[in-house]
Amino acid sequence: MMHCTMDDLLALRDGDASVWARRHVEECAACRSELDALYQRVAQLKALPTLRPPRDRWSVVQESLVRGHVQRRRRWAGYGVATAAALVGVMVLGPAFGNRGSAEDLAQAKQQSAQLESTLQEFDAETRVMSGREAELTARLEDQIAQLDGRLADLDARAAREAMLVDLWRQRVQLMQQLVEVRVARAKYVGL
């Protein structure tokens, strides 16, 4: 007598068995017993003890997350350096296509931005834990700074109007100030 294969039994369990298998299992005690054993095996598998991780891996995940965040900031800071280099060209050539007042404004904005970058670097501990609101604000400000840096880096220093550069650079300073307020002010508040 032909009996059900394991494929037949699994199909019976999953409700997609052949007509032959369905009829056979009704008539054959041995195959019914095998099908019961299959159900029991699966029930026992589901009831196996839950295995728990022997070590806490959250610190590694968190470290990687914070490291990624800092790398992102440094990459954006790199854009800032490129922008500054482009602006140096403008300042050197400034008298040729702009007035002295604009060149000084540009230098001042650049200096302010550099100071704010230093302040952020000083307080930007890699292990800092951010709240949801702080993380959201920080990400938004950093995105805006990155966009601004991208625009500045794309500008042809010779062709750009100095007033436009000063304006963009001042916008950068304002965003940096907000970022410092979010990051540093909170750090002081919680005593980090």
């Binding site: 494929d7 699994l10 295995l51 959250w58 949801g132």
Partner: protein, 178 residues
């Protein structure tokens, strides 16, 4: 498994906004089921720990793309299964797996004595264990397993049948030789 795998929507929203405390809370909620799934599929606890870590790195990276469709645990579980299967696909583990498969036809280590289901399950090849666990315990369909493994539905079905046939053999009570 009797762990509660439901997390409040507000926690998910905070995690999506990058709140580290919320992300850690998600980790705490899912670390055990993820590790359990990985440990049942992988040969060693170290591999399972690595899968746990890789899963949560992916969760943290991708949580913004989670659109709240279906249970969050279902989403995390798919990532965990994918990471575990990726690990099984690595060259080194594949070689081990093939070796293990070759020994599948031979006598089990404990012929003559009844072994429990957990030990029998451990004697399956990694691929077979993965298919059995994902299908019979976690509730993945053969289509989902085939997609995640990069194989066909028939491959998944035949692996499941072979694995159950082997489990059955391993669990048969052999008469004690006196």
């Amino acid at each position: 498994m009797t762990l509660s795998l439901t997390v409040p929507d507000i926690l998910v929203a905070r995690a999506k906004a990058g709140d580290l405390e919320a992300l850690e809370a998600l980790y705490r909620a899912f670390e055990t089921p993820v590790y359990n799934l990985a440990r049942r599929m992988c040969r060693t606890s170290e591999d399972a720990e690595d899968v746990l870590q890789e899963t949560f790195l992916e969760v943290v990276r991708s949580i913004k793309s989670y659109r709240g469709e279906g249970h969050l645990w279902g989403w995390v579980r798919r990532i965990a299964a994918s990471k575990a299967l990726m690990r099984l696909r690595s060259e080194k583990l594949r070689a081990t797996d093939e070796l293990h498969d070759e020994s599948a036809g031979g006598p089990p280590a404990s012929v003559g004595a009844r072994i429990d289901l957990e030990r029998a399950f451990d004697q399956l090849s990694e691929t077979s264990r993965a298919v059995v666990w994902l299908h019979d315990v976690e509730g993945f369909t053969h289509e989902e397993i085939a997609e995640q493994m990069g194989r066909t539905v028939s491959f998944s079905k035949s692996q499941l049948a072979r694995a159950h046939a082997r489990l059955r053999r391993l669990l048969v009570v052999e008469p004690e030789v006196t």
